[in-house]
Symmetry: C2
Subunit: 445 residues, 2 copies
């Protein structure tokens, strides 16, 4: 956040606090340490110790497909985000982070219960927000002037657009890097593709007015509170270059899937910067800064959402000055149907279906393999509903014999880049792992 | 070995023993247990304990590129096969098994020092063999009669052919399977491609005469002794279907690289069955059985050189009746130049070179990648000297930035099968791992 806006931002935070919206602070005095056991359940043994459970199988079922023991369920109750689907995988509770197993991402348009959550701070509670009083202020070094819009202003003044746009955490897939980088150990499911309704950022910027020669970047100001509770600190304030800010699909959304944006996902306003890591799509949006330089807000600098400017060896110490901002996410896909472990027969074969996406907005081809990548079969890949909607795909697979198969899926974008079958370039914070996905299939005679 | 030939074979073994050629029996009374420490050095810790060495680094250099400590060198001296290149990696000494790191396989025609050794029994010592008395007997249920040829007979009676033919152990790459299957933990180097001179097996079979309707398989009889020392047991007696036995390139060789076949590689006669696992190419060849059934000699049955008839889950127990004979080896390649860990500069780029081969005799394309398989560059792939000679390839690689790169190579055969980037189908004995190979490259500004 630029210094010039610090004061205004602080006042917003204070207003929020006065309204009692910094909900998590009141939940538990023990705070972070009490909740820190909540890493990925099923991957480690921390939860095992906490709950005194007897088997890994029980742990693996905790947040997943199996029955939740009532004692465990009670212990976890307070960490659940109301309305999320059974099987939602909580990685962290302060801030709240959670993802989905691939088979729970099968909806063509991701509904709220199946949308991952990646928060950096403490969100304002939805019921404490009066949307008629929420404002968006456009300012910054390259802004002609400071302009403040109410949500009603935005809705009435600018063309309303509805677009299906995927959001993926930059660290999605981090769990597969070795050595383990810091951060949430996302497996595959920090991705979702809801439908967003809002107005184009470009239209708002043009209405507010800015200096085309000076403007190089936009930064956002968000209404979440820093985990420390300090009002002078931002939880996160990221953005994107002007070229991206001005694209057709970069929007300020006020609805997700035709309804108010859910509390955890940015109510009442959210910036949507398609193709970029999800952190560029600021939630609880209160301000847009038109910057005359690369935005230097919280988590824009240092190692946050940055990758080395060159490939590095796993585990390398990379000088901070060699880190560059992560922009377009790499091409990727998931098999979302059926769930791994499915059984079929030689005669019946298997229809597999999934999703594919690319940071540049175009997936060209999708291939599947049942022999670990020795040969590939082209899948039917559907057009996206709009640019930056993920693309659905399907393939009818025949199995030559009974046995155990892995069905692998691999997307290729229009640049000829395909998903690697191995974890791609290691980087200090573990961004951009787009390794191909597979499911296990048991084929009977 | 068929019962009908057991007596003859026994007499050959006895003759060999009387001549004192079962050399290893006299070497050390302690035998197997004394030598059993000699697994792959550098991968496990057994040798560490034996030698009391202080660091893994020291161990890793034992058979490799680094300096050998004199104490260790002395301890290992007796296991060395005379003439093998420095860097030859011994996996086992009874029987002798050893492989090469990829950069020592760079010769277009593999010389003796760089040729891997995979023995099953105790070879007859070369200096105890009188080649003028060595014979090859053709017999079996489908043979018209039993015919015995001297080496001089073979050389004079049949067209002499010289072919460059690769031999690869069926278990090459086994070390990468998880869970670990039984057997030598070959990494990448149980492959070599010398030039063999001999006569076509087909010509010999036709001269000896056989029943075309009855003949389905050939089996070989070899002059090595069973590790137990029991003359009634064969160390190994494998073979191939008639379709393979009758191919142009299936030969009975009496020379390797223009000289007598070295002792460890089958002196004085060796069957060469191209494209099949190396064990089909019987060494110290004394007999060919023309079988009216699938040959049932030692290591033809059970789990030896067999794979499941269908894909199985890693670690699966596969019923013996579901195992089928491993025939054509899968498509594969190596980067043989430069050695992994090479340094270059952005401007200089790097010429990489290697070898490629396929069990069916044709590699169609070779691709290299510097981004973990996201994109691929086509390499120049040379024609083989003859069918079943490996093919050399080269690629000039430019690096866009300094940094750490992995250069991956992937071959594709004419069936459209390419090398997987991951370990392919697990099987109980760990055959046929043709995962793509890579080297590490450090690129400076």
């Amino acid at each position: 956040m630029a210094m010039m806006d610090r004061k205004k931002h602080r006042s917003l935070i204070e207003r929020t606090e006065q309204k009692g919206t910094v909900g998590w602070d009141t939940l538990d005095a023990a705070g972070v340490s009490r909740r820190s056991f909540l890493g990925r359940v099923g991957k480690g043994s921390a939860a095992l110790a906490v709950f005194g459970l007897g088997s890994e199988a029980a742990i693996q079922g905790l947040f997943g497909r199996s029955t939740l023991s009532s004692a465990v369920a009670a212990a976890l109750e307070e960490f659940r985000v109301e309305g999320k689907v059974d099987g939602f995988i909580y990685l962290n509770d302060r801030p709240i982070n959670g993802e989905l197993p691939p088979h729970l991402l099968h909806d063509e348009v991701t509904p709220f219960p199946n949308m991952f959550i990646r928060n950096n701070g403490v969100p304002p509670a939805k019921d404490s927000i009066d949307p008629s009083r929420w404002t968006l202020t456009v300012s910054g070094e390259a802004a002609d002037r400071e302009v403040t819009y109410s949500i009603a202003d935005l809705k009435s003044k600018f063309e309303n657009v509805t677009l299906q746009i995927w959001i993926e955490c930059g660290g999605n897939g981090r769990a597969a890097f070795e050595p383990s980088p810091r951060g949430n150990q996302w497996d595959l499911g920090a991705i979702g593709c809801p439908e967003w309704t809002g107005v184009r950022l470009r239209d708002v910027l043009e209405d507010a007015g800015y200096d085309r020669d000076k403007a190089v970047y936009i930064g956002y100001e968000a209404g979440d509170a820093h985990l420390s509770g300090r009002p002078d600190l931002d939880a996160i304030s990221r953005g994107c270059p002007m070229r991206k800010a001005l694209e057709d699909e970069t929007i300020i959304a006020f609805a997700m899937n035709g309804e108010d944006i859910p509390e955890q996902h940015g109510y009442p306003l959210r910036l949507i910067v398609p193709g970029f890591p999800g952190s560029a799509s600021g939630k609880w949006l209160q301000g847009i800064l038109i910057r005359d330089r690369e935005h230097d807000g919280e988590k824009m600098t240092g190692y946050s959402y940055r990758v080395p400017a060159y490939p590095v060896e796993p585990g390398a110490d990379v000088p901070e000055e060699d880190m560059v901002i992560l922009e377009e996410m790499p091409v990727k896909s998931l098999i979302t149907f059926p769930e791994t472990g499915v059984r079929t027969t030689v005669g019946a074969g298997l229809k597999v279906e999934g999703k594919a996406w690319d940071g540049y907005g175009d997936v060209e081809e999708l291939h599947v393999s049942i022999d670990h990548g020795a040969t590939w079969q082209k899948a039917k890949l559907n057009r996206p509903r709009n640019r930056f909607a993920w693309q659905t795909w399907e393939a009818d697979i025949e199995f030559p014999t009974p046995g155990y198969y892995q069905v692998w899926a691999k997307a290729t974008n229009r640049r000829g880049e395909s998903q690697p079958m191995r974890v791609p370039g290691w980087n200090p914070r573990g961004y951009g792992n787009n390794r191909a996905h597979h499911i296990d299939v048991y084929v009977e005679a």
